[in-house]
Subunit: 235 residues, 4 copies
Amino acid sequence: MTIATQRRVVTRQSREQRETAIMQAAQRVFAEKGYEDAAMSEIAALAGVVEGTIYKYFESKRDLLFRVMAAWYEGLLRDYDIGIAGIQGTRNRLRYIVWRHLRTIHDEPALCRLFYSQIRTAGDYHASYIQDLNRRYTRFTVRLLKEGMAAGEIRPDVNVALVRDLIYGTIEHHCWNYLRGQGDLDVDRLADELVDLVLPGVAQGKPAAELETNVARLGRLVERLERASTGEGEA
Amino acid sequence: MTIATQRRVVTRQSREQRETAIMQAAQRVFAEKGYEDAAMSEIAALAGVVEGTIYKYFESKRDLLFRVMAAWYEGLLRDYDIGIAGIQGTRNRLRYIVWRHLRTIHDEPALCRLFYSQIRTAGDYHASYIQDLNRRYTRFTVRLLKEGMAAGEIRPDVNVALVRDLIYGTIEHHCWNYLRGQGDLDVDRLADELVDLVLPGVAQGKPAAELETNVARLGRLVERLERASTGEGEA
Amino acid sequence: MTIATQRRVVTRQSREQRETAIMQAAQRVFAEKGYEDAAMSEIAALAGVVEGTIYKYFESKRDLLFRVMAAWYEGLLRDYDIGIAGIQGTRNRLRYIVWRHLRTIHDEPALCRLFYSQIRTAGDYHASYIQDLNRRYTRFTVRLLKEGMAAGEIRPDVNVALVRDLIYGTIEHHCWNYLRGQGDLDVDRLADELVDLVLPGVAQGKPAAELETNVARLGRLVERLERASTGEGEA
Amino acid sequence: MTIATQRRVVTRQSREQRETAIMQAAQRVFAEKGYEDAAMSEIAALAGVVEGTIYKYFESKRDLLFRVMAAWYEGLLRDYDIGIAGIQGTRNRLRYIVWRHLRTIHDEPALCRLFYSQIRTAGDYHASYIQDLNRRYTRFTVRLLKEGMAAGEIRPDVNVALVRDLIYGTIEHHCWNYLRGQGDLDVDRLADELVDLVLPGVAQGKPAAELETNVARLGRLVERLERASTGEGEA
DNA sequence: GATGAATGAGAATTCATTCAT
DNA sequence: GATGAATGAATTCTCATTCAT
């Protein structure tokens, strides 16, 4: 039994334009305030829209969040393969992946924080789509590692998934101060350091056993040589 | 009109007992529902006090959360040094640290999730105390690495902070499925794998590629020397 | 993250007083506007309470409605048995029941309308409690009929439930104009009329079968007598 | 850029067809969800039109409800007179009326509930038209009773309106469990029972008690006369 | 020291209705 | 004649926090 009222004349826009406007506004408000403290009314105001309109495009606040995050992730994925195709060598490619990831954190810390605090913790259906996008995103690393294996640059016994987690986990952990707004992030230096740290653990080399054998032989030899050179007067 | 007024018997407890009761209740409710969805009223009910009482002991809901998390972290820190003191060798100690961390995640996934989603993202004063506890917690790893360096087991040029982030970051990243309630966590296997992955990158020695070459050269040299030293009688 | 604000000083009342105040306000607003058009804010204002307070006492708007209706029904049931105990004879008692029901409709048409439109249509758990009260209410009629049977005043083959429905159904149907606010309701006259209409259908008398038999015999006899009296000249 | 703009093919239909489609959709949604919980958008979707279109045909949601109910009632009235014309005798006709009403409840409980909860309670202009239809509907009973009076089958002092209310009220009251979706409805048996219950109260004849006496006297008289007429030869 | 009733602002969400296209 | 995007007010309900008792 709602009483109809006069309303202000409205600029009619295409569905797509409105949707984009809302998502942009939402992205900004979510990034600034976090999910819980973001108010639909504020998003609406920023998008130049009435609250009800948002619900024509998005089922709920949560849905809006997920659509925003999904769009962002899809943007991250765009041209990723092209970018990587132009780079040769396992090391260079790995560095590119690390660097690109760091770059994203550097440029959009608020969205990253949002992802870490809202999407990753969630176990519901919506979140799983974005988690899927995330899997596609990290799969570049997985692929790289496997290609490195095929090329003999990476040890075949490496646990690929664990190395993937190592790369993204290390980066995230290292960036938390920056994500929290404390300090800066030296993307280039960090990319180098991380690659240097990771590669030795995975790069192809003689198996440890062989190395140890040789070291042991060497040790024995050195002893003998030492004895020979110092104990000449013996006998 | 001699109806006895019902009056619920108030168990008079010591300040400390009440505080503990509230914190235990809070820990449980926070862990179950997450911070936002936890209601002070529910915590109060579970603790057997009324809502107002909580505010005698804790400034705010946020404060309560932080006190709960701090207490938990303090528990994690207790006896840590003793535990580690009994273990010898860089590798064994590192494995212990990794294993203990995984064990914690395994046993209290909900609290870990709470930490990751609520404490780490926060930048306020309260959180910083817990972040400090966290630093003390991860410092065991830092110390280990430095001792390893002093003992010549670890390369002196290793970025210790980065390795620390590598360890905790990798673990966290790898455990997210489990934290989300999907799948199980093989603590022992994972501890081994991770140590195997990390150590080669930090252990004392030339970088792998160079090492390989040198090892090979050494191998050839050793052979020659051995032949020379044993086959003196040859013509 | 609600910001605490200064609040006006509040008159502390007993739980019971507040509850009563809210229920009275609710009863009035529901009665005036109907369930859907009643606003919790209006009820709160009328009760001299803030909206949130209502939810300390009542789970939901629906719950409030049911509690109001239940209280009303419980009032209707109070002293019913005492009232009826003082009256002798099936007819008198029936008239009392009918009269009392009409009186209720006459005095509280809005609440009756509420019951008819909201409670009776509902099939949920809450409603069923009130429907149960309603059953207890109409059971007086059922009991009366059964006692009448035992006393030989009412035919034993009467479908008691149907007669109960007849009484309450007829009354309701007849009162709808009044309930809708059109016209008046002559409680006494209507009570008499209805009792006169109902009783003959249920009062003890020879079973219809016997009556019919006698009527048929009579019919045949009359024919014969008629023939006899007119056809005297026949041989 | 020669992508054909997708455009959903609008089935051009006659005014009447559209109106019918909307009303059918509305009837279904109203019946399923009740008035308040029915959404215009759902009705529109079911009718295959957009929300705005509905407002070309119907002033408001309420108007739509009334038009739907009116159409339904008009359907109920159609052929009613023909059906009744073919039936002879007060009893048979009454049974037909009762049976037909029960049949309707049996077949369309949701619409009946809608009528009882939305139309009958309403006091506004729109509702009054349907209440008028209802009067035309129940008038068949009134007419029947009056004809019965004229034929001497029904006592002339019977309050016709009250009997009408008795019939419809009893039926409704008795059917509420079924209307609520609990239990089944035995139309035929109930029709018989109700007619048996109603008729004695209105049928021509002395009140039962007196009738009984007279029947008994008649019985004795008949016996005497029979003996007299057949046993003429007796001495 | 505890109580717990009351606060009150705020949140998300719904939906009948309109009107420029 | 139909569209359907936009409206925008209204509504229920939640909950951290306070403070008179």
